[in-house]
Point group: C2
Chain length 260, copies 2
């Protein structure tokens, strides 16, 4: 199993604090040593950083911790390899283009015997079930809406239906973002927190480190953080129920429903 | 105009020395201050680093200089914006997937009045003529060979024909790689050097720095480096003639012909 981290906000926000705790799980406080990656949207552009070294030993992870990149949508992943070798093409997040937008995706869980039908437009580069699932999600979106990106409810409906089909093969905890929305699907383990006015301070689970958000926020800021397991020990994190897809926009969970 | 740097090798090689000189052109020895990017193939995987800060001031560029990533194929670009704002979605190299492989692309030059027809499979995210041209190159490959990647001569032929069409709109110096081959097309300015046994030492144009390749190579190593302008002042660089596409594999130029 791997670990996921996502952020969706209404103002560009850096993820340094959360990533500091999260990256400890890549070889220090947990066993996820088989590479890691993080992708940031900046405008319509997207840049990702990844490494096959454990996050706690990676010079690239150190850069990400120290270089505050402000973004509306971020997805990060640390890997404990189950299917697929430890190599760059099997490292999440995966990135593809659809409708003139980048889409980023990371997955935690195993999909047993998940065979991908031959798809017209999206083909996996690596060997993971995760990338196959990502390709299928995008192909279903493109097939359903060939002319361009539909409304959020329409996107949500297609993603939920496809996620439900894929989840019949196993654990399908994933994060997906198109730079505007962030979709979080839980099979077994995923929680989120929305930080907004009045802000307080937060203390990491994985490292003795505290931040006072009052010093770095304004009254209208809204930041949703989604993670496999809560990153802080003095805040209330909401578990996402099993087989549920949540759509975040502007730092808030807008649509949430179960497909069971 | 921008600057291009590419490398194609028969053994995984780091590009630290060449990038050290090249990145000086991003705001120190030359005026290309509007962002930069570099993409490395590692196996079938690909990772890119980019920034909208000038290369000489970018913490990400410093990481790339100091962290030797060994790769068979690398493409880098520093930008002087002519078409499109300075933002991440307009920063080269661009990356897309075709036939289960990543393709990376960077361009130097202006394409005047280049309108992209609506394409079935590849849509630009940013505003640059460069990304439009990249999308058209990939769409023509996919249309011509829907079943999968053909042989190098077949790839070359389709790319040369499409490049010739696009080059009627202006300067189309570009580098394109699928992780195995690297294609270099010159309209106005592009040179290459092949380093192989017996190796010597090289001295940068843009910085007083010398490397002795005998210390870091074996007899069978072959490394082709392609750049807008020669990066060293004590080696012989071969200019690529105007309107010529060169295909490199395993560090050697295998096919080269003009389309004029």
């Amino acid at each position: 199993m791997c670990q996921l981290l996502g952020m969706n906000c209404n103002v560009p926000t850096d993820i340094c604090f959360s990533f500091e705790g999260f990256s400890q799980r890549g070889g220090a406080t947990d066993e996820h040593r088989d590479g890691w990656g993080i992708a940031f949207f900046e405008g319509k552009g997207c840049r990702s950083f990844m490494d096959i070294l454990p996050a706690v030993h990676s010079p690239v992870a150190r850069l990400v911790q120290e270089y505050p990149i402000k973004s509306f949508n971020v997805i990060a992943h640390i890997r404990k390899a189950t299917v697929g070798r430890v190599c760059l093409e099997n490292t999440h997040p995966f990135v593809r283009e659809l409708w003139g937008r980048y889409w980023i995706f990371a997955h935690n869980g195993d999909l047993k015997n998940f065979k991908l039908p031959s798809l017209a437009d999206f083909c996996p580069v690596g060997e993971t079930d995760s990338e196959k699932a990502f390709c299928l999600l995008l192909q279903q979106l493109k097939d359903r809406y060939p002319a361009g990106m539909p409304t959020l409810p329409a996107l949500y409906q297609t993603l939920r239906t496809t996620a439900a089909e894929i989840a019949t093969y196993g654990n399908f905890n994933f994060l997906l973002s198109n730079g505007k929305h962030l979709f979080a699907h839980a099979s077994t383990q995923l929680s989120y927190i929305v930080r907004r006015h009045p802000f307080g301070h937060a203390h990491l689970v994985d490292k003795d480190m505290t931040v006072d958000f009052r010093e770095v926020t304004t009254e209208r800021d809204q930041v949703a953080v989604i993670a496999t397991a809560p990153l802080t020990d003095n805040e209330f994190w909401t578990p996402i129920p099993s087989e549920t897809l949540v759509a975040f926009q502007d730092g808030l969970p807008l649509i949430s429903s179960s497909h069971t």
